[in-house]
Symmetry: C2
Subunit: 218 residues, 2 copies
DNA sequence: GCGTAAGGCTACCCGCCAGTAGGTACGCGG
DNA sequence: CCGCGTACCTACTGGCGGGTAGCCTTACGC
């Protein structure tokens, strides 16, 4: 029974700043995704992170700063995941297909990242809402460009251009909602989800009813 | 300069309970839609309603009760608005068309109702999130039934049935997102919005690119 | 072994806000 | 004009939670 044995089981000690920041951000994303910005308390975050509250303030700043850091990290992750999966020289439908697959794979793997980005960020208001809206807007513009380019390539032009942004908005929103739905159905693979979206937006109900099916052309 | 002149300009006085409850609910929806549940303060709500705080507590109960009352009233309004517009004996695409139009008309007219239902209710967590999720689920089931019935009527069956709920989820989500987008573009009419959705989900990009257009068959 | 800087903590402050106690004005029936 | 109830208010409390002051402790250079 030396005095060594008295020590409380094992306290993680003296880690470098970068590691602590990671731990804190991980905990913050988890707590924010569970309770939302306002209902989340710094005490709970520090508790989950295994760190005392002042550490958070010295490393990441105020609650708002912390939330911003979370949003930016997760948004970057998401965009990188999607860009990694897309290949710009393929035809439009195949680009969309790969983008969707990467997206659903990301959501399945990082549920909490997705929740905090999609559901919580909008409710804070002000700067963050704008930031998220911007990110969404970029995604929408991207998809709109895809649709319009596909249209003009075939010589349709104006009709597609005018409604392009609206269509893209509803497409992006539909993809997001399906992602939310899939959170409650974890047995559905990302490939299946992506192919549902492709069938819906590329073929439409009318063709689906007739028995048509969209398939990736490899 | 009689003492009558001293009276503060005009205080609304001694109104019956039902009227006050309406005023309070109206104010609550407005404030909740602006700030979200947690950031909204009872003081601000009472201020907007032109009523003191204890009135709210005696009439509508706690903050959570108040929020619940808002949600239920607005949800009822929304569902009634949609049901008023739909005619069950029309073909599936026309049913969808009328449902969408009513929906977008409602959102344009009662922006705050829509905001509080769609964006804020989910962030409170617990009972309300469940309530909203239920309402959404009912909408999704409804649309899914529409799709499946349209499919089986043509003899497709299983394929459509299996993916029906997922498709409906993404359709409903897409419609909601387009509603959000339309909040920033108030010059677009509900008819145009609904026809975009019809073109997207009934025809699909592939047909749109080819120049096809969906039109209501009256 | 000794200064010193960086990692880390406990314990507190204080403002904001949900919720309430207790009082005042007004109408109405006698 | 006197109770009596109902509409309505001002003014408070209690606690929760963001943010901080100040202290301890380990590692490392010399």
């Amino acid at each position: 029974m030396s005095e060594e044995d008295q020590r409380p089981p094992e306290r993680a000690r003296r880690l470098p700043r970068a590691v602590r920041e990671r731990q804190i951000l991980d905990a913050a994303v988890q707590v924010f995704s569970r309770h939302g910005y306002h209902a989340a308390s710094m005490d709970e975050i520090s508790d989950v992170a295994g760190v005392s509250k002042p550490m958070i303030y010295t490393y990441l700043g105020s609650k708002e700063d912390l939330f911003g850091a979370c949003i930016r990290r997760e948004a970057t992750r998401l965009l990188e995941a999607i860009q990694a999966g897309v290949q710009p020289d393929l035809p439009p439908d195949m680009q969309l297909w790969h983008g969707l697959r990467s997206f659903y794979r990301f959501v399945a793997e990082y549920r909490e990242s997705w929740t905090v980005l999609h559901r919580q960020a909008l409710t804070v208001g002000g700067a963050f809402a704008a930031e998220i809206t911007d990110m969404r807007a970029r995604a929408i513009q991207l998809v709109a460009a895809l649709v319009v380019s596909a249209g003009t390539r075939k010589g349709v032009g104006e009709q597609a251009e005018f409604s392009g942004e609206g269509l893209a908005a509803s497409l992006v929103g539909g993809a997001e909602s399906l992602a939310d739905w899939a959170l409650d159905h974890p047995d559905i693979s990302d490939g299946v989800l992506a192919s549902w979206m492709m069938n819906l937006v590329w073929l439409g109900f009318n063709d689906l009813i007739e028995g048509a099916v969209w398939k990736p052309s490899e």
